[in-house]
């Protein structure tokens, strides 16, 4: 079960956040702890209309499970919550939701594990967030 709260998380001010309640249509849900990586992801996605960074894993999951979510981006490790478990729960909620996982370069084992547990695609960072934006654009269509 999801128990770990993402300390220091915040809404990016560009959409709904926080309580896992209703979100606007075609929302991009970003899950990740308060880290440089998560901030970079939010910055890379600044061109998209509805991006939310929920304040807890529970609300990230609830928002990803909403029919309004266009995709879920797992930006960073989720502290106490294993990403694989989080992925499985998200996949159970929304079978066809595009889920993108950002990972370190060359971490093939993590990429394989993420794919096995329901990620649509694993994107290594660096070199850039261009691939993420491309995938998100596709998901929005």
């Amino acid at each position: 079960m999801l128990r770990a709260a993402m300390e220091g998380s915040e809404d990016n001010g560009n959409g709904a956040g926080g309580n896992g309640g209703s979100i606007p249509a075609r929302t991009i849900v970003v899950a990740g702890q308060s880290s440089q990586r998560t901030r970079e992801v939010l910055h890379a996605l600044r061109g998209f209309a509805n991006v939310v960074w929920p304040t807890s894993l529970e609300s990230a999951l609830a928002q990803a499970g909403s029919n309004e979510a266009a995709c879920l981006v797992i930006a960073d490790d989720l502290r106490e919550e294993p990403i694989d478990e989080f992925l499985q729960e998200a996949r159970e909620l929304r079978r066809n939701l595009p889920i993108f996982v950002i990972t370190d370069p060359d971490d093939v084992a993590e990429a394989v594990s993420a794919m096995r547990n329901g990620a649509t695609k694993v994107i290594e960072i660096p070199p850039s967030y261009a691939a993420l934006c491309e995938e998100v654009s596709r998901a929005m269509q």
Partner: protein, 202 residues
């Protein structure tokens, strides 16, 4: 029907790797067949043969990923474990997106490989059991008359006999008779079971 024994197929262009994998698999009591190239394997492989496949990514001629694509085109369900000394994330993602069971980087511990092979063999058994189950359902389905098929489709949509009768323009009694035949031919003990069968083949 007697099940064939499971075989671990190894496709790798490196003689030393092939031989060491064969010895390792044999030491674990597993039956192994090795191939030096993708075309050699594809020429001999029969989908009825249960097992799993250890597949090198980089090989001259047809690569492991190309061979996986060919197996997918053939509708093969054999679990594929990629092994490579030069793996990267895009390669692993592509392999997994196309249905690879696993992707293992060299060097790996013997036990790590054997564990994954065992999991792949379990997966293959499950896949084959599921296929046998759906094949049986399809056989039963094929034994239904066109009218029974219509009744089946409507009752599994949750329609009561009276509604089915209205939709088909027949009496309720006729629907009841067709429905009884459907349940008997499909070997379904309940409507819920019948719905599950239809979901299994959908």
């Amino acid at each position: 029907m007697k099940e064939l024994p499971q075989t671990v197929f190894v496709v790798d262009d490196d003689d030393a790797v092939r031989n060491s994998l064969r010895l390792l698999l044999k030491s674990a009591g597993l039956q192994a067949e090795v191939f030096a190239s993708a075309p050699e394997f594809l020429a001999k492989y029969e989908a009825a043969q249960p097992g799993c496949l250890l597949l090198d990514v980089r090989m001259p001629g047809m690569s492991g990923l190309e061979m996986q694509h060919e197996l997918n085109l053939r509708g093969a369900t054999i679990p594929v474990i990629f092994i490579t000394g030069h793996g990267d994330i895009p390669m692993a993602v592509e392999a997994m997106q196309h249905g690879a069971f696993d992707f293992l980087q060299k060097p790996f511990r013997d036990q790590e490989l054997l564990d994954r092979v065992q999991r792949a063999l379990v997966r293959d058994s499950e896949n084959r059991a599921r296929l046998r189950h759906t094949d049986r359902i399809r056989e039963r389905l094929a034994s239904l008359s066109p009218r029974e098929r219509e009744v089946l489709e409507l009752v599994t949509q949750g329609k009561a006999n009276k509604m089915v009768a209205g939709d088909l323009g027949v009496s309720q009694r006729t629907v009841e008779i067709h429905r009884a035949h459907v349940m008997q031919k499909m070997e379904a003990g309940s409507l819920a079971e019948l719905v599950r069968m239809m979901m299994a083949i959908s």
